[in-house]
């Protein structure tokens, strides 16, 4: 019963996210609107942490397999991929390595400098 209640609250916020997407025509998915809304509700106390926490942790815990159906969609793209296969993979791989490296190093650099300033 506890899970059902919590899941219903989370779905309610999803619904509000979808409504917001309908009103604001930005290329932002309903789930991102929902994430921001949920954070606002928690901050304002409209939703209490213990009213959603268990169901949320459960959903986050099983998040990985939720991506599989979309990823299997790769199978329909094989023919259009063949022409640009090598550059496509190289760009994906190198782009990922550079983006992850730069983001992590910059964040860590600023974090460490802040720590030193505090000393």
């Amino acid at each position: 019963m506890k899970y059902l209640k919590q899941f219903t609250i989370i779905l309610g916020v999803c619904l509000l996210g979808e409504a917001l997407r309908y009103v604001l025509p930005l290329p932002v998915p309903a789930s991102v609107y929902g994430l921001v809304l949920m954070l606002v509700f928690l901050l304002t106390g409209l939703v209490k942490l213990d009213q959603v926490e268990s169901a949320a942790d459960f959903l986050i815990g099983i998040m990985s397999p939720m991506f599989i159906p979309a990823a299997v969609g790769l199978m329909d793209q094989f023919s259009s991929l063949r022409a640009i296969l090598l550059p496509f993979f190289v760009i994906n791989f190198v782009g990922l390595v550079i983006t992850l490296g730069v983001t992590g190093r910059v964040t860590q650099f600023v974090l460490k400098r802040e720590k030193e300033e505090r000393k």
Partner: protein, 230 residues
């Protein structure tokens, strides 16, 4: 046989979860980025579908039930973020600067590589949103004149690579701070990377989830400028 499977809604769902659990079991046995459960699931599911002559739409008929949970799961990412709010406030500057530099690095590296390979403008804008979450990336690609279906493929490949390599790359670049790890993984490989960050730790997962939203929105703005480059 294929006729039976085509009409059976539980098939897609069972195959998806079964392949994933098998992947998790193999990953426990042989620890390596190559035995990543997501990667193994694809290696199992796609050949099974091709061999049984089941098309993607018939598979998705069952598999959509687990896909549906993505929206409530993404909304749920607000909960670990709320629990880590002190960290977010305290390191606000580092987090924002990190994500901004990541969005720029992503755009610049894709621009440079596309120019190097001599790809067309269409291929370039198709690849530009590859580091952001699917729903944002798809609509952004379509808006810029790219091929949305190929963008989804690029997003998925980037995400799986991020999921497989996150731990290794953090070690390689000597990223040790949990906050920096989470921000890096989320900015570079969106929600698929985030599902790995969650496994690493609560702080990593929360920060990675935050990056999905922030990097996604910044990319929408930055891509308008980047699209004019090539």
């Amino acid at each position: 046989m294929s006729q039976l499977i085509q009409n059976c809604a539980s098939f897609g769902l069972f195959l998806t979860l079964g392949a994933y659990l098998l992947g998790v079991a193999l990953n426990k046995r042989f620890k390596s980025p190559l035995t990543n459960p997501l990667l193994l699931s694809l290696v199992i599911i796609i050949p099974v579908l091709l061999l049984c002559g089941v098309d993607y739409d018939a598979y998705y008929e069952g598999a959509k039930y687990i896909s549906f949970l993505l929206t409530p799961a993404t909304v749920s990412l607000a909960i670990p973020l709320y629990r880590q709010l002190d960290k977010l406030k305290k390191h606000f500057k580092a987090i924002l600067l990190g994500i901004c530099s990541g969005v720029l690095a992503s755009g610049l590296s894709i621009f440079a590589l596309c120019a190097l390979f001599g790809l067309s403008h269409t291929d370039y804008v198709t690849l530009l949103p590859k580091s952001v979450t699917t729903a944002i990336g798809m609509s952004l690609s379509a808006e810029l004149g790219g091929v949305a279906a190929l963008t989804v493929t690029a997003i998925v490949i980037t995400g799986i690579l991020g999921n497989c390599l996150a731990v290794f790359l953090c070690r390689l670049f000597r990223i040790t701070e949990p906050v920096a790890k989470g921000i890096a993984i989320g900015t570079a490989s969106h929600a698929l990377g985030t599902s790995k960050a969650i496994e690493i730790g609560e702080v990593e997962g929360a920060m990675s989830g935050l990056s999905i939203a922030v990097a996604g929105l910044l990319t929408v703005a930055a891509a308008q400028v980047f699209a004019m480059l090539l």
